[in-house]
């Protein structure tokens, strides 16, 4: 399987030895939404290597969502450098942003499905809008639906699905274009613990296909299942960064 964006590996950051495999690099990034307001991100530096599964934890308003929107270039950093997939996106002209976003998938707490389209069409939509050919859509959509555990539910409408299933559709849509990075902003925020487990399993499955996953969450249970990097934010600063940590730290 080839991944879009593989050609970008030789990037400015990749030339610095220790950052060779980083797909996301923040260098002293500050984001201030309104003049005089407390910064949402405060001189934050962070590196996320290729293929990693990384949790972002912290209280509401600690800057997790801002960090994700800066990666997506929904928001532009006020100062500092942000490299994503080898490109300095703080200086990227807006006409190049759509093409840049095709390499990134995103999933949100509120699913953001199109109510008028069935499961298949919701996932296919992500391919149609970037002009993928019909045969590619017919091949990829069933594959990715199987990956998220929704095989056989192609014809269902979103309102006929449970919350967990809707989030699986959203993940399928985010993953169908084979993104290099998947950003998940509290994907289990609306779901019960057992369903959340299922979503987590699906995200880990996507991660195992080589996609870097960054997930902002409040879900203690999921984080404490262990095995993944945990970055904790407080008021826009990193206060803890453990390669295999827990929600509340060592304690």
């Amino acid at each position: 399987m080839t991944w879009p964006g593989d050609a970008l590996v030789t990037s400015p950051t990749a030339q610095k030895g220790q950052q060779r495999s980083a797909v996301i690099t923040f260098e002293n990034v500050t984001k201030i939404y309104a003049r005089g307001a407390r910064p949402a991100l405060d001189g934050l530096s962070l590196e996320i290597p290729r293929g990693q599964f990384c949790f972002l934890v912290g209280a509401s308003g600690s800057g997790k969502s801002t960090l994700l929107s800066v990666v997506l270039r929904e928001e532009r950093a006020t100062s500092g450098k942000v490299y994503v997939l080898g490109q300095d996106i703080t200086r990227m002209p807006s006409r190049r942003i759509p093409r840049f976003r095709r390499q990134i998938g995103a999933v949100f707490q509120d699913f953001r499905l199109l109510e008028g389209k069935n499961v298949f069409d919701n996932v296919a939509f992500a391919m149609q809008v970037i002009g993928r050919p019909r045969h590619a859509i017919m091949r990829s959509v069933p594959d990715v639906l199987k990956l998220v555990g929704l095989g056989g539910k192609e014809k269902r409408m979103p309102h006929e699905l449970s919350g967990g299933e809707q989030q699986r559709v959203a993940i399928a849509r985010a993953a169908v274009n084979r993104p290099r990075i998947l950003l998940a902003d509290e994907p289990t925020g609306n779901l019960d613990p057992r369903t959340s487990e299922g979503i987590m399993t699906v995200l880990e499955r996507v991660n195992q296909t080589g996609t870097t996953v960054v997930m902002a969450t409040h879900d203690v249970g999921l984080v404490d299942r262990g095995g993944h990097r945990v970055v904790e934010l407080v008021e826009g600063r990193i206060v803890r960064d453990e390669s295999s940590g827990y929600y509340g730290g060592d304690a």
Binding site: S94, P98, R112, A126, G131
Partner: protein, 306 residues
């Protein structure tokens, strides 16, 4: 695939704001009808001016024997010298830029044509050769400059009066020009209304599809791809409006105006050609496209923000 997808999205949008779209179609229809009517009126005026000015001439009536107290006829019938002087003046290099041709009708010819035209009426019996003088027919290169001729020869001895036929038509042209101006003014106001309506429609339909557009942006759809359905929606509505306008103009001229004019004003107005509509149609369609394009650009600039 892409085209089918875009078409499906447009159809979707049409169904969703059917009332607004209908309003856009109707307003463009009415405003473009007004523009079209103004343009066709202009065509008709131009044609009439051309046709009439070909026939219009300035006539210089010279003194007959019987008249002594009018014009410059105190000395009675025009003498050969006086007539020659007037003719020379008309043919002078000074008047050459204005005068195409001068033809002389002798008083016998004038009498004869008078008899022909009014044969059977009492006028023909009353008139004698001595009550008519020779007439100089002056063909103008531009009939609107008739004053040059009347100023030049009007006061010469032996001239009874100068007579300008375009006097007849000027009031009519005045009326037509005013009607055209009114149509243009109405068209302008309606075009403004159309722009505002199209703008509102696009904004509404963009709002109602904000979810889709936000998802499109999320998965990296290009701006043009996001905006195209909205732009085409506006363009299709405006084009439908212009098609209705062309159809209405054609129908009105073909089935109503042409017959009516022929029955009532045949001599005055000449023929009205329903095919004129198709000289105007391309401009109407162009106006529709510009209208829609302008409104779309106005509204969608906000949506280019990623």
């Amino acid at each position: 695939m892409r085209i089918r997808f875009v078409l499906a999205e447009i159809f979707h949008g049409f169904r969703r704001n059917l009332t607004m779209i209908s309003a856009v179609i109707l307003v463009t229809f009415v405003s473009l009808s007004a523009v079209g009517a103004a343009l066709m009126l202009q065509l008709q005026v131009d044609r009439l001016k051309g046709a009439w000015y070909d026939k219009v001439e300035v006539q210089v009536w010279l003194c007959p024997a019987e008249v002594q107290d009018e014009g410059n006829c105190a000395a009675g019938a025009v003498t050969a010298d006086q007539q020659q002087a007037v003719e020379d003046r008309l043919n002078s290099s000074e008047l050459a830029p204005y005068v195409d041709e001068v033809t002389v009708e002798t008083k016998e010819e004038v009498y004869q044509s008078f008899q022909d035209r009014f044969s059977g009426s009492y006028l023909a019996e009353e008139v004698t050769q001595d009550s008519l003088g020779p007439v100089l027919h002056v063909k103008m290169s531009d009939p609107t400059n008739f004053e040059v001729v009347t100023d030049a020869v009007g006061t010469m001895p032996g001239v009874l009066e100068t007579y300008d036929q375009s006097d007849l038509f000027e009031p009519l042209f005045d009326v037509l020009a005013k009607v055209r101006l009114a149509a243009l003014a109405i068209a302008l106001v309606l075009a403004l209304a159309a722009i505002l309506l199209i703008t509102t429609t696009i904004r509404l339909s963009a709002l109602s599809r904000q979810r889709e557009t936000s998802i499109m942006k999320l998965v990296g759809a290009s701006n043009i791809f996001i905006q195209l359905p909205f732009m085409l929606e506006g363009a299709v509505a405006a084009l439908l409006g212009s098609a209705l306008a062309v159809g209405a103009l054609w129908g009105v001229t073909r089935f109503w105006l042409a017959d009516w004019v022929q029955a009532n004003f045949d001599l005055l107005m000449g023929q009205i050609n329903p095919m004129d509509v198709f000289k105007v149609a391309p401009w109407l369609v162009l106006a529709a496209v510009v209208l829609a394009g302008f409104s779309s650009a106005l509204t969608l600039r906000r949506f280019t923000k990623v």
